[in-house]
Symmetry: C3
Subunit: 358 residues, 3 copies
């Protein structure tokens, strides 16, 4: 299955791209080099010199121009060759990508840059506006297909088993689960009254150990952007006593079998407490890196390059959200491929041909 191209993918945390430096990351099998213009805006180019195919990130950045390390061709932020030390022609060009920095996130449009739909850039302003002590970000390079990470978040029932000591505790399994398609999105909620909050929350209740009303919602959008909101209200307590977190789990394929997994955790309680923030970050990092990630990698290893459905898994009711998200993504990709087939290929037209640039 090809990737969805006409979509915003999370490429990096904003602070990963530092002034004066060339940052590179492979996205959807394409090497991309990122850098900040003197204006502060971020540029992104195919990280491959069109002359001899070496990575541009090995070169030098000066005055918003990258000079290739091998033969000195210079490219501006549009991908145009602006200096060719070996002749007057500047026919060479590398592909530019549309990039948007918003809410501390760097989004890249993997379709034609000219067709990037700015109005579709995901909005995380409700999380970026919080104090530093109320949130933390993490990144895990994970050896599995990105859809497996999405499946993992879309079926949080796994928390009761894989994360029994932290975010689990039986509430997901006990909950009534509700899946809904909202246009391009898939929403899934788990809701129940439970004897006790998950370990990681219980300690922050006014009266630890008390029964709670438990509500978790995941909102998925293509290609793999998930908002995850949790609300834990002590039974008998009002919304003021509720513990609330807003989180994002965002996956970007590196290759068919490796994924850039970004997660961002924020909370609405004890928001100024740096220590709680640090503890929470450590607990979540531990859960993701020592519980989720190994499980996802084993899953990938067992599946090889086969498609999930071709392996005929026994599906459970708890898979409903993940399966609908997969179906929606597949439909989007099929639509995109069909549209592409019915018009002259821009990619083919743009692809440089062998030519002597004199």
């Amino acid at each position: 299955m090809p990737y969805l191209r006409e979509a915003w993918y999370l490429a990096a945390w904003a602070e990963e791209i530092k002034p004066g430096e060339l940052f590179h990351r492979t996205l959807l099998d394409e090497p991309v080099v990122f850098y900040r213009l003197r204006s502060g805006a971020i540029a992104a180019l195919h990280d491959r010199c069109p002359h001899r195919f070496v990575p541009l990130h090995l070169g030098k950045l000066e005055n918003d121009i990258i000079q290739c390390a091998y033969h000195g061709l210079q490219f501006d932020c549009s991908g145009k060759c602006v200096h060719n030390p070996h002749g007057s022609s500047k026919a060479a060009a590398t592909r530019p990508y549309a990039v948007v920095e918003r809410d501390g996130l760097v989004w890249i449009w993997m379709g034609e840059s000219a067709e990037a739909k700015l109005e579709l850039v995901p909005d995380f302003s409700h999380m970026s506006g919080l104090p530093e002590t109320a949130g933390s970000q993490g990144y895990l390079w994970t050896e599995c297909n990105y859809k497996l990470v999405a499946d993992n978040v879309m079926d949080l029932s796994h928390a009761d088993f894989l994360h029994a000591d932290s975010v689990g505790g039986g509430a997901f399994t006990a909950a009534r689960q509700h899946v809904e398609e909202m246009g391009d999105a898939v929403h899934i909620t788990w809701e129940c009254r439970h004897d006790k909050a998950p370990p990681i929350y219980d300690q922050f209740l006014a009266v630890p150990g008390q029964p709670v009303q438990f509500r978790t919602e995941v909102r998925w959008r293509a290609p793999g952007i998930m908002n995850l909101d949790i609300t834990i209200t002590p039974c008998g307590g009002g919304p003021l006593q509720a513990l609330q977190t807003h989180n994002a789990h965002i996956v970007t394929p590196e290759t068919a079998t490796t994924t850039h997994y970004f997660f961002w955790l924020t909370r609405q309680f004890h928001m100024e407490d740096a220590q709680i923030n640090a503890h929470r970050h450590t607990a979540m990092m531990r859960a993701f890196s020592t519980e989720d990630k190994p499980m996802l990698c084993e899953q990938q290893r067992a599946m090889g390059t086969d498609d999930l459905f071709s392996l005929r898994p026994v599906l459970l009711p708890s898979d409903a959200g993940a399966v609908r998200a997969r179906r929606k993504l597949e439909q989007r990709i099929r639509d995109e491929q069909a549209a592409k087939a019915s018009r002259p290929s821009i990619e083919a037209a743009q692809r440089p041909t062998t030519q002597t640039a004199t």
Copy 2:
């Protein structure tokens, strides 16, 4: 060439499978998880949850039941799902294997468990009954096809060159070799009068350095079970003065290019001497791991995934036993494939289909 399925393969030494633990090993490209029931009997299941394909050995064992680490499905020793925390259905199942523990060896039937032929479990009681000081076992994970290890044992003439300092000494090359097919088995014997016993035996003769009558016999059975008996009788001495060893060399494919190589050495002389036993174990381990194993791995590397015969080797008379064993194994596999083609595939019928288990 596919594997022979309807056969007993050596899966493990009995002590590798400990009470309360999940043991896993890949056999014939299939991941298998083993554990002991409370009764002491050994169970074996396909080491893959039918829901999301993660290895069951990452899960928990309690009351003879494995709980998958990811979403908590529970399976009994027949592979049946006996608890599904996410719905009432227990449609999921994983494949069980027939397993027999005998003589300290754990045998697994890689065909349909219901069709396992108990009467065919190999008998090593003549070796398992000996005192602990008269035998030792070893295991080498070897990066080559299992048939190459069998070839190695079936042509012991290599000992005179590769193991000149231990089990070699020229006797095999000097011997008259006799190959015989006995039903499903191939027997090969080397017999001669030789000036001196191989180094590893000579020291135990009543008069070291004296000429001996040398006899070695290898009895091969599919898929790769070899008994190797050696008798060294001092010339002029009677059977009471003979040095005798009974050994087993057993190979089980892990994948097409990796092998579980089990060997078991016992002797009929100085049977109570722990020191001799330890020395002998060390010498043999050294020979197998530093002389045979590297040679086999280089051979595999040179051959790649090609079949031996397709590479048109120059065959020597000393290959006769190995070649007959290969031909017998190939015939068994062809017969099995033909039988399989002529009846409805049990495997296909058993394979789970995508289904929502509610």
Copy 3:
């Protein structure tokens, strides 16, 4: 694209092949074992026993004969089996290669040994005759196709960017470049008056920092043998004041994506100064191993197994020499393949067939 077979390839520096030892190296995907006969001459055989395909270099060398480590077959320097411990037949044979040692270099003919054209062995006597303190040799195992290393040497304009601190300095880019085909060879020269000599030369001028007449010439021959001569003459100074170096860059494919890169540097100035020689060696090793080699490996990684031209690179005028060399090599290979197709295949006729050698 197959390899050119009927050509001399540099296999090793002469001192790599020591008396009494078996030296092995893979060339054009073929494992080859080399050794010195008692006469001092070098023999080369396919490094694979025709019986069980293990490397002959694991065996023993005695009296110009290799004994295979596995079953003791013995081969002489013509590849003939001269002793078979397991029967009277000596049908087994391994392929011999024609080898010539000249000027401290070991050349191997990768076509039929009987057809080796001795008159084509490259001549480096102008470099081998110099004092030890006037030259140095290096070897880099490089993870890229051999043609990429040749491209690198054939377009020295890269020196101004990749090696700005050592052999670069702008002279190549400033120079007029002249490419000429001379029969089977491609010659490329760069010539200009330049403000300053490259850093590695400037220090040796009578008056450092002075303008120079700069001339570099690379002469390529198939399959990948390059002479590289540099002459730097101070402006106003005569030939007596010129700094001159003769160098060789020679590439031999190990596999399609790995290369044996041999380089040999000699100079015509301060020829008795061991310290200058050592400094120069260190500087060049640093440039090749930390600047060229990583760039070549990245280029290979980006290109995968695709042919350069199929990837439609934007070619620059500075590629002219490299492209002509590639075209010439391709033509030679096509001619060779066509000639091979039109006569009975010697290779096929020579290839041993499965046979029982009794």
